[in-house]
């Protein structure tokens, strides 16, 4: 694509990619630039919408929908409250359809959260999980075998199995030593995933696991079942083992997360969009109520990027879209947007690491109106052609609420559509 795009998206996490995809479906010319890849490479690769929350009767609910309704009541500026439930559902459903079209189904649990095992054997609630993970369902008591690989330091099946047993799920553990991995240096989940392109490797791992099955009805592996056709890999392994298989999210880099990233990038390119990394946006030029262009820096060269509409999806403190200084100042790095929920520095962090309330500094963010345009405390809009989406939004703690992907997908989806129409509601 040559020339000025209609929509310029800044940030390549789940929110930015979703926004670019949606703006493209509405026929716009879209360019996405980013410093590097975003949250998809860190997270579990599931779509968490809300961990648990207060339901209509005031009890704790594991239903994401109920939890969302509770959140809206408690926190009217929460991104979900701004969107409303029908829009949240539509966005999540559309995203699931896209993944299905790429033969990577994300599966729901009849409107309730799944309880899937984490790599230490804790129950992890999530709303949509890739089909490769759901046989790990912890509400199901069937015995499982957890399999680790000798050379993979990022997964410890023994600890996981012991914790599952302590919670009433019969689980055994084995670590298999694969000849083909013995000479590999610094093995990580991505490197194992790349080997699943070969049928020989598939046979080798199946042969190594088979003698240890001992009546297990399902086998859990770290999430490494390849990038291109994980569902096929899963089926092939299940055939060879004669039981169900499931993936368990590991330490970053996240193979299931990267799969979602690849699906979105492929779809954006298929629709004629451009995705470029290595462009760190550092400044903007604003005239009156319009953003004219932003400036990126890379390789000591500054480059300017003009567009009609800009979508900011640089993430919060973790994504690098906001920086908190020692002086207590917190800044949005490109536009210097007004921030909401800013606390005095001594109140940023709880003394207790596991404080269920989380740490206040991470709830700092950008407040937006119903069109996802950033606003200040008085409600006045920063610019007419700037849209903000994703975990940079204020009044939520996506990580602790377990709403990270839900917020990213839903706000990215509707923010992208808003950018494409750029009309005020």
């Amino acid at each position: 694509m040559a020339g000025k795009p209609d929509v310029l998206v800044i940030g390549a996490g789940l929110a930015g990619l979703t926004a670019a995809w949606q703006a493209l479906t509405m026929g716009k010319r879209v360019r996405l630039i980013a410093k590097g890849w975003g949250m998809t490479h860190w997270h579990a690769g599931c779509i968490d919408v809300m961990g648990e929350g207060v339901d209509d009767d005031g009890g704790i609910s594991d239903s994401a929908g109920h939890a969302m309704a509770g959140t809206a009541a408690v926190q009217p500026d929460h991104p979900y409250a701004i969107l409303g439930r029908p829009k949240l559902n539509e966005a999540i459903d559309s995203f699931a359809q896209l993944c299905r079209a790429y033969e990577y189904p994300l599966v729901g649990n009849a409107g309730k959260n799944w309880m899937l095992p984490s790599a230490v054997g804790a129950a992890r609630p999530t709303y949509l999980a890739p089909e490769t993970m759901i046989a790990g369902d912890l509400t199901d008591q069937r015995p499982m075998l957890i399999v680790g690989l000798s050379q993979l330091n990022d997964f410890y099946p023994g600890l996981m199995a012991d914790n599952l047993n302590a919670q009433g799920i019969p689980a055994a553990a084995v670590t298999v030593d694969l000849a083909s991995l013995r000479e590999v240096r610094h093995l990580n989940p991505v490197m194992v995933a790349n080997r699943f392109h070969s049928l020989t490797f598939l046979d080798e791992i199946a042969d190594a696991i088979r003698p240890h099955l001992n009546g297990a009805e399902r086998v859990g592996l770290p999430a490494v079942l390849g990038f291109e056709q994980p569902i096929r890999v899963k089926l092939e392994l299940e055939q060879r083992l004669g039981c169900q298989l499931f993936e368990i999210p590991t330490l970053p880099p996240s193979v299931p997360g990267i799969r979602l990233h690849r699906i979105l990038v492929q779809e954006i390119r298929r629709l004629g969009g451009v995705v470029q990394e290595g462009f760190e946006v550092v400044a903007a030029e604003i005239s009156g109520s319009r953003v004219l262009r932003v400036f990126s820096e890379a390789g000591a060269r500054q480059k300017s990027h003009a567009a009609d509409v800009f979508v900011l999806a640089t993430g919060g403190i973790l994504g690098g879209g906001m920086v908190a200084a020692q002086t207590g100042d917190i800044k949005e790095t490109i536009f210097g947007l007004p921030l909401s929920g800013v606390k005095a520095q001594q109140d940023w962090l709880s003394h207790e690491y596991f404080d269920p309330q989380g740490h206040a500094v991470f709830k700092t963010g950008i407040r937006v109106n119903r069109d996802f345009r950033p606003i200040d405390e008085t409600g006045s809009q920063f610019a007419e052609n700037l849209i903000v989406v994703g975990t940079t939004l204020a009044h939520c703690d996506p990580l602790r609420e377990r709403s990270m992907e839900g917020i990213a997908v839903a706000t990215g989806f509707w923010g992208g559509r808003q950018a494409a129409s750029n009309e005020s509601s």
Binding site: G121, Q151, R185, L187, L399
Partner: protein, 545 residues
């Protein structure tokens, strides 16, 4: 109740205690050492890591300076692998009075601390980040020291000479019979049982806690614990120890050690060595002072803050009954307090720990009426043939052993073998114990990736119950948090958020079964006072470090 009989019982597993254990064991005494937590968990593991040349004390305390340079030479001989031969600079910044220079040089001559003038251009070639306004620079034989490793090796050597080193044995009280202390009643925190240890002589080497230990036998030993707060920069901003050329005061030193640079330190009197906080003003002071030496240092990535308590001894008995120098106190409680069977060694500096141990063990010989000569200055610690440590040593070893595939902690280049060794040979029981042995989790990510791996290995090797492994995981996350919280901004705040994503979202560790924390959990700092901190920084009495 389990009982143990020994000749010498040492209370305290810091530098002094393990030093005394080694000396006693080498002189052939049957020796037991008890430490309430892990070795070096207290002050020894929380200092800035300076091997003193003595330069710091030449004006203020010439006797201490002379002791430092003498011990500096001995430690370089017996434990070079615990030391890095960085050398040290004393520099005069625009904030310092140049009239101190002649006093400093005269002091060095008097205490026989080797000193040479370094031209400013040469100084800047060696340390380009130093303040270009520095007017004078002098080189002294300072160095940096791995106090964890040194303590561990003193313990290892003690064991080789037959001593028994018992960590996680908390002394509940000294056992007193009439005018005699006959041992100590301990709580074994791992087995959760009581152990009575009877000894001909008990050595109270509990440092800042010596007063608390003595009090259990109704002996008054008054300590004024002096808290020092330190801050680590994520990399080696300098490769030479940098001192301000002035009377010792707050925040006047930068020590390059392993992969980091340590800014130190404050000195704030606290009432209880178990209760103190890292105050925001202390962190700010370290950064402000560091900027005077390295302009822009406060903008660098800060990894962590920590605090230790110096054992500052204050004599309350007027009779001339103690064997003491200005640097440390060795108390024989028979003449001093009318209680026999126990002596106390406290005060001093890490650099002079061996000399203190020698004096203490001489006293042990005298008390047990069995004179035997000291050899700790002659015999090296295990592994000394490796020579001085240097920054690239770990990488060199990894390359030689081609073990790069087997890293558990990428920040500090800790291999699986290192962790296994720490668990099986070093008898590590918690992730924090492993950290002290091999520096796991001490780098930029502060345990973000290696904590889970270390717990997985600990679970496997120690065959722990799942609840014990879960507690080890949660304990260590809390332990890291206590030192992160005071310095979380900028890139380290971003890192903390990634670690939170890993542990509280991906792994969901707070949902794991088992107790939220254990008896073995490292001690925590208090919350900073809401008024902005204890008394404002004042002129510091340097009696500790």
């Amino acid at each position: 109740m389990r009982t143990i009989q020994t000749e010498v019982l040492i209370v305290g597993g810091g530098a002094t205690g393990t030093g005394v254990a080694r000396d006693c064991a080498m002189r052939g005494f049957k020796t037991v050492l008890v430490e309430s937590r892990d070795l070096a968990h207290g002050t020894t593991g929380r200092y800035h890591g300076l091997l003193h040349s003595g330069g710091r004390y030449v004006v203020k305390d010439p006797k201490a300076a002379a002791e430092c340079i003498e011990e500096n030479r001995i430690l370089r001989r017996i434990m070079p692998h615990c030391l890095e031969d960085t050398g040290g600079f004393f520099v005069v910044t625009p904030y310092d009075d140049p009239e101190f220079v002649p006093k400093f040089l005269e002091g060095c001559r008097h205490a026989e601390v080797p000193v040479e003038t370094v031209p400013i251009a040469e100084m800047l070639r060696q340390e380009p980040l130093l303040n270009k306004e520095i007017s004078h620079c002098f080189r002294v034989p300072d160095g940096s020291a791995d106090s964890f490793m040194a303590t561990e090796l003193n313990a290892e050597s003690s064991r080789q000479y037959g001593a028994s080193i018992l960590n996680y044995h908390h002394v509940m009280n000294l056992i007193r019979r009439g005018d005699q202390v006959v041992g100590a009643l301990c709580h074994d925190l791992v087995q959760d049982e009581q152990v009575a240890i009877y000894a001909d002589l008990t050595v109270n080497a509990a440092g800042a806690w010596a007063g608390k230990i003595a009090a259990t036998a109704d002996i008054l030993v008054k300590l004024l614990p002096g808290k020092g707060t330190m801050v680590a920069i994520s990399h080696r901003a300098v490769n030479t120890v940098i001192n301000r050329c002035k009377m010792p005061s707050d925040g006047d030193i930068i020590v390059p050690i392993h992969t980091v640079s340590v800014l130190g330190t404050t000195d704030v009197q606290v009432t209880d060595p178990d209760h103190f906080a890292i105050e925001p003003w202390e962190v700010q002071l370290m950064l402000d002072e560091a900027d005077k030496l390295i302009p822009g240092a406060s903008e660098m990535r800060i990894l962590r803050a920590w605090a230790g308590v110096r054992p500052l001894f204050q004599e309350t008995v007027t009779t001339d009954s103690r064997d003491v120098t200005r640097a440390y106190a060795l108390l024989d409680h028979a003449p001093r307090d009318g209680v026999d069977g126990v002596i106390t060694i406290t005060g001093g500096k890490w650099t002079t720990y061996r000399m203190m141990a020698e004096a203490t063990t001489d006293k042990v010989c005298q008390k047990l009426d069995s004179p035997r000569p000291c050899r700790t200055h002659l015999e090296s610690l295990p592994g000394a043939e490796r020579g001085y440590h240097h920054l690239g040593a770990r990488l060199k070893r990894l390359e030689e052993e081609r073990s790069y595939g087997q890293l558990v902690c990428e920040c500090e280049l800790v291999t699986i073998e290192d962790v296994h060794h720490s668990i099986s040979e070093g008898n590590a029981r918690t992730v924090d114990d492993i950290r002290r042995d091999v520096r796991l989790g001490m780098g930029p990510c502060q345990g973000g990736f290696c904590t889970y791996r270390a717990v997985g290995i600990l679970h496997e090797v120690k065959k722990l119950e799942n609840s014990a492994s879960n507690a080890a995981l949660r304990d260590f996350l809390r332990e890291r948090w206590k030192g992160l919280r005071p310095i979380l901004w900028g890139r380290q705040l971003k890192q903390a958020r990634l670690d939170e994503l890993i542990f509280l979202n991906l792994l969901n560790v707070e949902q794991l079964p088992g107790p939220p924390a254990t008896r073995l959990q490292p001690t925590m700092y208090d919350e900073p006072s809401t008024t902005g901190g204890s008394a404002a920084p004042s002129e510091r009495e340097e009696a500790g470090k």
